[in-house]
C-alpha cells in the first residue's frame, strides 16, 4: 500500500465529511430551521385563509398542501446560500483529489438530512392546521425519506447548474420543480392509498425508480458539472 493510498480517505468517508461540513454551516447560519421552515409554516397557514373555514375541504386538502409546500420550499432548502461553494473551496477540493461525484453526493446527503428535518418540523404544523385523516400514517415515514432523497439529489444538480449565477435561487426552482413530478405524485398517493387499507408499494417504487434515475444521471454528469463550477 502506498503512502498516498494510506492517507486518502475512502469516497464514502469523503462524502460524509463534506456532508458534515454542510450541516455544520447550516447549524451556524440556521437558514433552514430559522428562516425556510417558518416561511413554509406561513404558507400552510395562508391556504386556509385563502380558501375559507371549510373544515371538511381543508381536511381533504391538508396532505396535498403539505407536500406542495415541502416541494416548493424544499427547493429553497437545497439551494440555500450556505450551500454555495466559492471558486477557492472548489479548487481546494479538486487539489485534495475529491471526485466531482463524491462532492455532489456529499451535498445531496446533507440536503437530504436537512429536508428530513424540514419535513419533521412542518408535518406537525400541517396536522395541527388541517387535521387530516391519518389512517395508514406510518407509510408517511418512507415517503418522507424518499422525497427528501429525491429532492436533495435534484436540488444538488440544479445548484451545480446554477452555481455562480446571479439568479440561482430563482432559476434553481424552475429547473427542479417540474422534474420533481414523480416525487409529488408518489408522496401524495402514498397516504391516499394507505387510507384505503392498501399497501402503497407501487407509489413507493415509483419514487424509488425516480431517485435511481436521478442518482444515475448525477453520477454520469458530475464530471461536466464540476467543469462548469
Amino acid at each position: 500500500m502506498t503512502a498516498q493510498a494510506a492517507t486518502t480517505p475512502s469516497p464514502w468517508r469523503q462524502c460524509v465529511e463534506l456532508a458534515r461540513k454542510d450541516l455544520r454551516l447550516e447549524l451556524r447560519t440556521g437558514e433552514v430551521l430559522l428562516v425556510t421552515a417558518p416561511f413554509g409554516a406561513v404558507a400552510l397557514l395562508f391556504v386556509p385563509l385563502a380558501i375559507g373555514p371549510d373544515t371538511p375541504l381543508l381536511r381533504q386538502l391538508g396532505p396535498g398542501m403539505f407536500w406542495v409546500v415541502v416541494l416548493l420550499f424544499g427547493v429553497l432548502v437545497t439551494l440555500r446560500q450556505s450551500a454555495a461553494d466559492g471558486p477557492a473551496q472548489l479548487a481546494v477540493l479538486r487539489l485534495c483529489g475529491v471526485h466531482p461525484g463524491v462532492r455532489l453526493a456529499g451535498r445531496a446527503l446533507a440536503n437530504a438530512m436537512l429536508l428530513l428535518t424540514f419535513q419533521a418540523v412542518l408535518a406537525p404544523v400541517a396536522i395541527a392546521l388541517y387535521n387530516p385523516d391519518l389512517t395508514g400514517g406510518l407509510w408517511l415515514i418512507p415517503a418522507m425519506v424518499l422525497v427528501a432523497a429525491g429532492l436533495a439529489a435534484l436540488g444538488t444538480v440544479a445548484g451545480a447548474l446554477a452555481e455562480g449565477l446571479a439568479g440561482r435561487t430563482i432559476l434553481g426552482p424552475l429547473l427542479v420543480v417540474p422534474v420533481a413530478l414523480p416525487l409529488l405524485l408518489g408522496a401524495t398517493q402514498v397516504l391516499a392509498t394507505a387510507r384505503h387499507e392498501q399497501a402503497p408499494w407501487p407509489w413507493l417504487l415509483l419514487m424509488l425508480a425516480a431517485i435511481g434515475v436521478i442518482a444515475l444521471t448525477v453520477a454520469l454528469v458530475a464530471r461536466f458539472l464540476e467543469e462548469s463550477a
Partner: protein, 245 residues
C-alpha cells in the same frame, strides 16, 4: 447549400398546402364531426415538439462528447422551436377541449405533464440566458438538455399509465394504429408538413445563433465591453475620494 435554403421553405409551403387540403377532404368523425379535424394540427405539433427535444438531447450529448459550438447552437435552437411547438400543442388542445370536454383546461395527466415539459424547457432557456460565459453556458445547457429529456417519455406514456380524460395513443402505440386509414394518411401528411416547418424554423434560428456567436467573437476581438459593462456599482462621493487617495 443555397438550393437547400430556397428548396426547404418551398417544400414546407407545398406540404402545408397539401396537409390543409387533406385535412379538409378527410372524412369527418362520427361523434365529433368537424371538430376532430383539429387532430391534424394538434397531434403533429406535439410530435414535432418531441422531435425538437430529441434533437436537443442528441446535440447536447454531441456537445459533451465533441465540444463543438455547432452542437450547442443546434441544441439551443431546437429547444426554442420545441417550446414553440409545445405551446402550440397545448393551445390547440385547449381549443379542441372546450367544445368536446366543456373546459379549456382540466387536471388530466397528459395535460399536466405536457405543461410541465413546457416549463422544463423554459427552464433550459432561462439557464442559457442566465449564463454569460459561452463555454459554461454550453456545458450547463448540455447537461440540463440531457436531464430534461426524461420528461418526454413521461408525457407520451402518461395516457397509458393513467387512464383519464385524454384519449390513449392511437398511432405511436404497440400494434396496429387504431385509426381509420384515410385519417391516418391525412395525419401523416400533416406530420411531414410540421416537420418541414420545424426544419425551416430550426435553420432560421441556427442562422441567428451563428450571427450572435460571430458578433460576440468580434466584440471580444475588438476588446469592446458587452452591453451593460459600463454600469458600475454606485459609490458615495467621499468613499470615492478615499479610494483615490
Amino acid at each position: 447549400m443555397t438550393r437547400v435554403r430556397t428548396a426547404l421553405p418551398i417544400a414546407a409551403a407545398v406540404a402545408v398546402a397539401t396537409g390543409v387540403t387533406a385535412a379538409m377532404l378527410a372524412p369527418a368523425d362520427q361523434l365529433q364531426g368537424d371538430l376532430q379535424r383539429l387532430m391534424y394540427v394538434h397531434v403533429p405539433a406535439a410530435w414535432t415538439a418531441y422531435l425538437s427535444f430529441a434533437v436537443t438531447l442528441v446535440a447536447s450529448i454531441g456537445w459533451l462528447w465533441r465540444r463543438k459550438p455547432g452542437f450547442d447552437r443546434v441544441a439551443a435552437s431546437s429547444a426554442e422551436v420545441g417550446v414553440f411547438f409545445t405551446a402550440l400543442a397545448i393551445a390547440l388542445g385547449s381549443i379542441w377541449g372546450k367544445p368536446v370536454w366543456g373546459v379549456w383546461w382540466t387536471w388530466d395527466p397528459r395535460l399536466i405533464t405536457t405543461a410541465l415539459m413546457l416549463f422544463v424547457y423554459l427552464g433550459y432557456l432561462a439557464l442559457r440566458r442566465a449564463t454569460l460565459d459561452p463555454d459554461a453556458r454550453a456545458r450547463r445547457a448540455a447537461v440540463f438538455g440531457v436531464v430534461a429529456f426524461v420528461q418526454v417519455p413521461i408525457v407520451h406514456m402518461s395516457v397509458e399509465w393513467w387512464r383519464t380524460l385524454h384519449q390513449p395513443a392511437t398511432v405511436l402505440q404497440p400494434g396496429q394504429p387504431s385509426i381509420d386509414t384515410p385519417m391516418l394518411i391525412t395525419l401523416l401528411i400533416n406530420v411531414v408538413a410540421f416537420m418541414l416547418i420545424y426544419a425551416v424554423l430550426l435553420r432560421l434560428r441556427l442562422g441567428i445563433a451563428a450571427m450572435d456567436d460571430q458578433r460576440a467573437a468580434r466584440q471580444v476581438a475588438e476588446g469592446r465591453e458587452l452591453a451593460g459593462g459600463a454600469v458600475t456599482a454606485p459609490h458615495l462621493e467621499d468613499t470615492q475620494e478615499k479610494e483615490a487617495h
